[in-house]
Symmetry: C2
Subunit: 409 residues, 2 copies
């Protein structure tokens, strides 16, 4: 029987990831349905000979995608095409292929810097209302993608559990030091940088695409009580840095090209004085990715309750805008940098809220799980499953994490 996400990985996907198995050390793989193809042994079969020089083939044995990600786009295009041909004869690839259940997936890249933006106007309005009661956008929201930088060390591959974080927060009129009582997820996507840019030189928006190696799903786990106390004025830090999960399969722009359009991208509300010239224009395009966020209770592990359905293409700022903004001051990109969208929330009340802060109006309203339990924020043992699919055979699989009880003090 095919796995739950087998249909995400058709012949038009050709994602990259890092996997290991009893037969193979961590190295570069791709996936067709439930078959995982290890590229390093594949290269040794000679099936790729004639397509590439050694500088391409030697990236396959590395324990991260960073070397592969820096290859010229033309090489990646030829590789994708070659793999599509080779995968039509899976039965000839014995020794290079493992079923998905026999491999362990690893963090796909060594992360450079990790920046998380806030691209959804709906999320900003809902989250602000949950905390302050007011539906206001931050003063700079229409001018630039607001964001914060998080700790790259906290980025972990899907499936990595983490302990409920301790911190300081306000409770009953005083500040306590205790495990968070408001643990939340954030349904996000992120681009991973391939080609680096230069210190001191901005990447113009029309040149940003060549720096995007691929796209993943990301969960920006958040402790809302810790966040409330620490955030003014320097932004979130300990409320976010304990763990950030990313999906293991990096989906490439070529696979997503058929799902890119101007259709759902919100109209830019352009200020009058030419201040937006370094961002994408009114005809900008976004990727359509249907996303869901689900919670699974430890009391009913076979049933996931879908709490959110939203779509990446409704973001006010695109990945191209994020790169243009990140580098417009002379900051530069390194291979493995992650630029994330922030919470992907839609317009539909209750059914498209990308985090629990929004869904529960700041913990004031509960929601029900399939098995009759109710929740506001996450409880110990809860798993959160994010997934996303663009269309026939082109999906992202899942990005999952489980909350372990807090460590002893």
């Amino acid at each position: 029987m095919p796995s739950e996400y087998a249909h995400h990985f058709g012949i038009n996907n050709i994602p990259y990831g890092i996997a290991s198995s009893s037969k193979h050390p961590p190295s570069v793989v791709t996936r067709l349905q439930d078959s995982v193809l290890f590229l390093d042994p594949l290269a040794r079969t000679g099936l790729l000979s004639g397509h590439f020089g050694g500088e391409v083939l030697e990236t396959f044995g590395k324990p991260t995608l960073n070397s592969l990600a820096t290859l010229p786009k033309d090489d990646l295009k030829v590789l994708r095409s070659a793999l599509q041909g080779i995968l039509k004869n899976l039965e000839k690839l014995q020794g290079c292929v493992e079923p998905i259940e026999n491999v362990r997936m690893h963090l796909p890249v060594e992360v450079g810097d990790f920046t998380d933006f806030s691209c959804s106007a709906d999320h900003m309005l809902n989250a602000g209302e949950s905390v302050t009661g007011l539906r206001n956008l931050p003063p700079s929201f229409r001018y630039l993608p607001v964001g914060y930088i998080s700790r790259a060390s906290g980025v972990k591959v899907s499936g990595t559990p983490f302990h409920r974080p301790w911190g300081q927060y306000r409770k009953d009129g005083s500040v306590v030091w205790a495990p968070t009582e408001q643990l939340d997820y954030e349904l996000e996507m992120a681009c991973i940088i391939g080609k680096p840019s230069k210190f001191g030189t901005r990447v113009k928006v029309e040149d940003t695409a060549e720096h995007i190696f691929g796209i993943v799903i990301l969960n920006d786990w958040s402790a809302r009580d810790i966040q409330s106390l620490e955030m003014p004025p320097l932004g979130p830090m300990n409320s976010k840095s304990f763990c950030t999960s990313v999906s293991p399969w990096v989906i490439n722009p070529e696979a997503l090209a058929p799902f890119r359009s101007t259709g759902n991208v919100p109209a830019r509300e352009e200020p009058p004085n030419g201040v937006m010239t370094h961002f994408s224009g009114p005809g900008r395009e976004g990727y359509s990715v249907d996303l869901t966020a689900s919670v699974v209770s430890p009391k009913d592990k076979d049933s996931k309750t879908i709490l959110c359905r939203s779509n990446l293409s409704t973001m006010y700022w695109t990945f191209e805008d994020l790169i243009a903004h990140q580098t417009c001051n002379g900051a530069f990109l390194r291979t493995g940098d992650i630029l994330a969208t922030g919470t992907v929330t839609g317009k539909e009340k209750k059914t498209s809220h990308g985090c629990l802060l929004e869904l529960t109006a700041g913990g004031k309203q509960s929601y029900g799980l399939n098995n009759g339990e109710t929740r506001t924020y996450l409880e110990d043992g809860d798993s959160v499953i994010l997934d996303g699919i663009s269309g026939e055979g082109v999906g992202f699989g899942d990005c999952t994490g489980t909350v372990l009880p807090a460590q002893k003090d």
Copy 2:
């Protein structure tokens, strides 16, 4: 004639850095007055034989200090002592020694994550007053070291010039896209992490010292106009990430031990409910480092105008507190992580302001340079020189940077 900072590097200092010369590739060095000793060729002379195993000696040829920094403290203690002995006979070390003017210094570590805190109550009060007119501390200041995470890629070694950054900011009632008009420095210090910690497990404050490899001076260059627009609510990003300078010589805790005391460390204003148990107690100690910040005009390159004198030991939060806080949520330390103090400002009005935002009351008051020029924020061609010394023969040298004109759009 000795160089300006020769007296910072006496026999009790024994700093580490990464240098290269016409004869040596970038590798580990130490310094005595104006003599730079390359440790990799030193190891090959056999003078260190018997002291260490190969795992110590092989760190000397690396192009960063990261491997050296992870050595056990006991090994580092023996190495320090051995180098002190060897350096007494400098004339025997031909082939391993270069005069300081013949070497180029490099970034001392490959940076993991870079977090910048705000440890000075005086800075927070002055800076807040400059922007809002009110002398208030952030709500969490007495509870925890507030901070933000910056881009590790922006950390550059002293002497690296950078272009005046572009950005968006408010001007004359609208938002413009232009080079910053409020470029500032921040006089800071930072600890560099040696021994890493574990994902999910906090480092208790009494164990933090073993993770500190050494201390450097840091300049957190800031664009105040860009910062004002982007900061609410997620904190500073593009206003800081374009460049951060660090001094090339990492000064080790053993060299600084004689200058550590409780003397100037502000009394902790302890909340009543035991919420501060994971921080250092009332008897906590700080390092005394006399710091200066100076500006040099391109019109008078031989004259530096000292704008600030302050001392590290007056910070409300210590490096031990920063590490305890950074890891209390389960976030972990990697070798090469940088945790900085934020602006080191003293109590003296005008003479101990660690940045121009404070000194100029937000650009409203000008100051004079030695040559009669006046300034508010930095102008193109200006250099900023930060330096620091703890006492006889134990100093940090300087951390310098020069502002290049903005790139063309």
